[in-house]
Point group: C2
């Protein structure tokens, strides 16, 4: 009898738990809009039908969970890149910090322009100029020392205009897309032209993307044992430039699977979208167009700002998008809310 | 009333399901040995206590699930590498297939030695010789074409002595370790000196390791659009040599987290084990020693076979293992069963 009673108690609790789970689950599922910061438009509709097509078992374009890969560019796609990429700001500030130890920089380009805040000259920096700045500011230390520097910088640096930490300037609608895709069994990857080690410092906390799902540009590292402790020293030599065609190369190298969805905002993302689209089945290719000077910035075909050091959403990219059926997201018309800090 | 009855039915089924789950789960959990192909010895004990230490919430060395990373070398650690790595056999067979289109190879080293099956000369191949063979046999095609070649080869090639497909010659005890670690929330990575694209063709099917968890050596790829379709063409230039110090570099680049466990069998794995050990908390470093000439092969300190083209388990590595507390797995004394096909 006691035994029976005990069993009955377990059953009762089991029922209770099950009912709570079922009712709660079904209730929220039916009502919840997974993309509340998106206006009901073609872009939102495309995301919702892509997810339906690839994840409902009855769909002819159903994709096995292990193959559900989504790739996101970062600068300009997940967070603000104007007036300059956050990582470029980090590099420029480090030039200032390191200047006392490098007195020759006062007369040597590209450092001279940085130290004099000569924005016109900086606007004309070549890739080689940037590489010299990266070499001087991102190398010559261990990966751990670099992480510490990035963490310290992120904790104190403020983005111009918004006067907030850079990691506040992330796009709420894109966070919702990432979360929604993950809930539907997709692995979300960041595929960035920015530095892989830089982005990995905050990717998990900011985007929910763990370090192993960040593919980015990298410099050569060298294994050394210092005082009996192995370290990876960062060398002033580029390794992978994860931009343009490098994004398809990086995706293949790091993931070894073709994404079913890819999100970008510039010409540097075109090959990633092409590579995604070349696969079979349902594929989703989207480009964020910065056409909202009021709430963020307007550049590219929307005009407005000069396009210095930021990804170029050119007219050519716009026509490529049109002829390929890539979906252009209008910040102004598709997004109800831009940043998480806005209510 | 009808409603009540319906609810009662749901409850009854819920109870049934719960009881089956609970009794089944608890029953098998208590009885099951996760490593049945291992003798009860120091190696098996080390694995079990490492898992306990890192995964039981009450343990002071508990590791968050997201940080549970385990790295496995492949050749000689997960499958047989004697008398030659499978991938080297693939390359040599392709030299034979491509010879008619390359008549000059008859008089040109290293191809001449391969075509004449001059094992003595092949035993003396330098890294440069091997690179020439890789360039001739692994490059000049798209990644997709390469995958097809590898698949075809794996389906037909037989390993000498055992006269079985190469993918049959995997170590049952290591499969058990991988499976056990995965059940305990670890992500298992293959970190191989072999070709990343080669291993990814079969890693999921053979080891349960998906492509994105295979870190390996790679050659440069180039993005090209051919007949409107983007492809990645394999170029005859090395990109990452994922061996020796390259394994620590590869782990940092691809995973961005330090493994808590690493398994190898040769000097090419030493830096991976060092890198693993240099982290805090509980770390497990193990080396497979091939000392079983009867069931597999004996080489390294166990002597026996000459060490051509296979990882060197040297006396130096053995003393490094001793002084660092790395655990040496004896195939002969630690493994009850070597291959899955053995009963």
């Amino acid at each position: 009898m006691k035994n029976y009673r005990y069993r009955y108690q377990i059953s009762f609790r089991a029922i209770l738990v099950l009912f709570v789970l079922l009712s709660g689950g079904i209730g929220t599922y039916a009502e919840r809009d997974p993309l509340p910061s998106w206006y009901d438009g073609a872009a939102k509709k495309a995301i919702l039908s892509f997810v339906k097509e690839t994840t409902e078992k009855s769909s002819p374009k159903y994709v096995q969970p292990g193959d559900r890969i989504a790739a996101f560019d970062q600068d300009g796609t997940l967070w603000t890149e104007h007036p300059l990429y956050a990582q470029a700001m980090f590099a420029l500030e480090r030039v200032g910090q390191l200047a006392p130890q490098n007195p020759e920089w006062k007369d040597k380009q590209p450092f001279k322009a940085v130290l004099e805040r000569d924005h016109e000259a900086m606007g004309k920096f070549t890739e080689q100029d940037w590489m010299e700045i990266v070499a001087a500011t991102h190398a010559g230390m261990s990966t751990e020392e670099f992480h510490t520097l990035v963490k310290q910088w992120l904790a104190t640096a403020k983005a111009p205009r918004f006067n907030r930490p850079y990691t506040d300037l992330i796009y709420q609608p894109m966070l919702e897309v990432m979360k929604y895709l993950r809930e539907k069994g997709f692995k979300t990857y960041i595929v960035t032209g920015g530095g892989q080690e830089f982005v990995r410092v905050y990717s998990e906390q900011v985007y929910g993307v763990p370090p192993e799902q960040v593919v980015g540009s990298s410099i050569v590292t060298k294994y050394e044992v210092i005082n009996g402790k192995p370290v990876l020293m960062r060398e002033p030599k580029p390794f992978l430039i994860d931009d343009g065609p490098g994004k398809a190369i990086g995706i293949n190298m790091f993931i070894g699977k073709r994404p079913f969805a890819a999100f970008g905002n510039s010409g540097g993302d075109a090959e990633m979208l092409q590579w995604t689209q070349a696969g079979e089945g349902a594929r989703l290719m989207m480009l964020v167009h910065h056409d909202d000077a009021t709430r963020e910035y307007a550049y590219g075909p929307a005009g407005g700002l000069p396009d210095t050091h930021v990804g170029t959403f050119s007219d050519a990219l716009l026509s490529q998008a049109k002829s390929n059926g890539w979906i252009v997201i209008s910040m102004k018309d598709d997004w109800k809310r831009i940043f998480p800090f806005e209510k």
